[in-house]
Symmetry: C3
Subunit: 354 residues, 3 copies
Amino acid sequence: MSTIPRNQWYVAAYGSEIRNELFARTICDEPILFWRTEAGEVVANSDRCVHRRFPLSQAPSRLVDDKVVCGYHGFTYGADGKCVAVPGQTRVPRTARLTPYPVVELDSLVWIWIGDPALADPTRIPRASYLASPDYTTVRGLEPLAARFSLLVDNLLDLSHETYLHGGYIGTPEVASTPISTEVDDEAGVVYVSRHMDDAECPPFYSRSTGLQGRIARWQDIEYTPPCLYKLHSRIAPVGSVPNPDGTDPDAFHVEVVYAITPETEHSTHDFWMVARDFALGDEEVSAFLAENNRTVVLQDVEALDVLEQVIRREPEGYQELSINIDTGGLAARRMLARMVGQAPRNAPAAPTR
Amino acid sequence: MSTIPRNQWYVAAYGSEIRNELFARTICDEPILFWRTEAGEVVANSDRCVHRRFPLSQAPSRLVDDKVVCGYHGFTYGADGKCVAVPGQTRVPRTARLTPYPVVELDSLVWIWIGDPALADPTRIPRASYLASPDYTTVRGLEPLAARFSLLVDNLLDLSHETYLHGGYIGTPEVASTPISTEVDDEAGVVYVSRHMDDAECPPFYSRSTGLQGRIARWQDIEYTPPCLYKLHSRIAPVGSVPNPDGTDPDAFHVEVVYAITPETEHSTHDFWMVARDFALGDEEVSAFLAENNRTVVLQDVEALDVLEQVIRREPEGYQELSINIDTGGLAARRMLARMVGQAPRNAPAAPTR
Amino acid sequence: MSTIPRNQWYVAAYGSEIRNELFARTICDEPILFWRTEAGEVVANSDRCVHRRFPLSQAPSRLVDDKVVCGYHGFTYGADGKCVAVPGQTRVPRTARLTPYPVVELDSLVWIWIGDPALADPTRIPRASYLASPDYTTVRGLEPLAARFSLLVDNLLDLSHETYLHGGYIGTPEVASTPISTEVDDEAGVVYVSRHMDDAECPPFYSRSTGLQGRIARWQDIEYTPPCLYKLHSRIAPVGSVPNPDGTDPDAFHVEVVYAITPETEHSTHDFWMVARDFALGDEEVSAFLAENNRTVVLQDVEALDVLEQVIRREPEGYQELSINIDTGGLAARRMLARMVGQAPRNAPAAPTR
């Protein structure tokens, strides 16, 4: 049985990836064809000719005047997926239509609805408006992950791994040793995990980008909206500094780390990562440093999770993990995801082992 | 369940491929060992020592005086498959025998019977005598296809794809737009598909080989004898020229395009292709041009069909294609093949969608 | 159903492979972590963190003061497998423990018990004391074999294959043509196969290492203790020479060829090979010659058995081999192995076909 929730919005691409040309990506095991129309709208349809299954993204298929012409026998489809021409006859069968997907471009991201189109409600798409805001500068990337998406959810919900897997980049001893607080909003469908380190070592990732030296206050506030959008509000400030009662926070540096966790197949994932900051805006050197360092950190995760996927695939049936306090957020996320696919959570006790 | 018909003749090799040395090829999922005896006869036996399964085509196995000696423990077999020597004892077990296959060399092709040898009737082998005729010059090749054989049958029975997949080689707009006529001879087990273009663009494949320029009469008469032999009688002539009532046709150029479609496994195929012509006999330049161009066209098909095989293997159960008039011949061929394996045709309606 | 016997001792490694650092090897489908403690003892534990399955042999996991620290979240384990530290809390869950494996280092080999630790009896480990004796010089190696372990057992129990697969190295016509005698000691769990060639060609392997030329007496006495330890006592002497009644044998050269046959998975094997000799002790040139030649012979077997594994995986259900007199020892070994896993022997008749 699939572990991928359907009837959900997923990030399919960065808006900048989709131009007025054929673009293919598999989302939740469905091969999908994208293009941006001449009018500037992103459209998505099943990437398979209804005639003999040829992928419409595959050369010599081509886009002509906002219509895609199949490279095998010339079946031709409009942006809405309807077939408008077939070879050898003028009559086009009524049922000749690609499956169109609901698509919304928002906050620099292309969101796609996987499931019953009648249920697609764009107001349910979680927001990350700073990604398209002039008050922030954002770097971003996309890495292929040869592991099921839930392993990336586990990874991001438990940042204690920064100390070990990402030592020398974003990990310091305090991340693993500082207790977390976890909150679950089942109504809104959000898991919150907070770790406030009030007197911590400043890792290279932040000292080189902010200029802060020595001990810092470092707050990590996670906000995960299953299945796809993960936001880490990272606050770096001099020790003792706290935000003002009105919410302003002039002494602090804010970094919004965003992941879009999109299943490609049951066993592979599109790992979209973004780092938005409210300082050193437009500073190319800081941008390059943060992009390269965050990519390094993401690739450390990818390497580890690719290994875990193989471990899981070879392990005997019924293998049981052991969970502890740091896993509270991850287990809450698993429960939400399990409800979304209508099953019990992946072999994990409801509460951590005490 | 297998989709490969048994109790059928298949082309195993070109005669020129089999010399007085060990030669292995898998046909219909059966690993088979061939060699040409010193007397010049092609023999075929199962390519697996009866003792410990070592492939007899695998070094250090070797052919000595028309006997094959297994490279593992030295079991030795004659051309008829009978074991004549074993190690450590002089008595050879009665049951020690390779499985021999009925083989016929005809029209430059090595035909093999896959199934019950008692049913093998050489008179049922379909002919293509021009392949070995001095009145024709033939070029040929063999490409490995990582797709089930029925995808190549579909491909060749519907030549409207020439316009799209082979544009610039053999495809022109008229191929896709000209209606076809289809005829099925269930008695003889042949599907005929004809497309007569009486005033068509001359594609480079024919203009450069015949010297004809501008508009031409181009007739395509397909004769497919499932499962293996596909013949395309291609007639190229000046516009308005027709054959004489007595069958002679001096103004026309005739090209016989032959494919032997032999399953290697359930999901791979030996794609034998031949192009025989009745003009420019022995002209090396024309031969080289036709060979290179036809190989290019075959590789375009191979690339497309390899993709389709992967699409089919990943698609959900019960996926339905949509068929139109151009598919009439292909659907007829599917029905014949389905009857040969005793099942309903691969998910296709009995008639095209109107 | 698995064909790998459990509740058995297997060679996991050469003692020299295990140092005071993390070392991983899969034995009988179980991923296992080894290290040699600072006190010099080899320890073995399951190679999977109890928390989120991260392999403890995988960087950035590391060994610190005889404790292994998981590279993902820092779970820390002692040499006995007990967890001594976890992130974010001081309390370590009682159940947090790796699975420890019984290990014995003996005769230069690291033996591991696969199965119920309560049944592990070190006195049942078969011996090969010459491997660690100053009266012998030993060369050795380890080759990965992409074939089930039983194919290597078959191979080594029937040395008639030397004549064909290893001609020019250790094979001569006499090996295949000399009858064998087979003895089975079910009590002790040993299969003996003897082939005494009293007047045989001296193969290069022995002529170049012993200096003997021309015809020799060549005795091969196999002693196989299923599942893992295979010993070939090889005696090379001038024709006519026999051991003295008191067991001394001054005119002969003795070579002890040892294989440890350890399943890695159901379809792959660790092929440990050793060649111990009682002559030319310490002679580097003889050592280099024997090592290189034996490795060549082992790789000839590996290549053949890798092919057989693929043949078996593709063959139809119920395929039957044919066995003859030379297979008596191999069939006896199969019966013992089948009893160890509680099933009938792999498709082989109880007796060879006469």
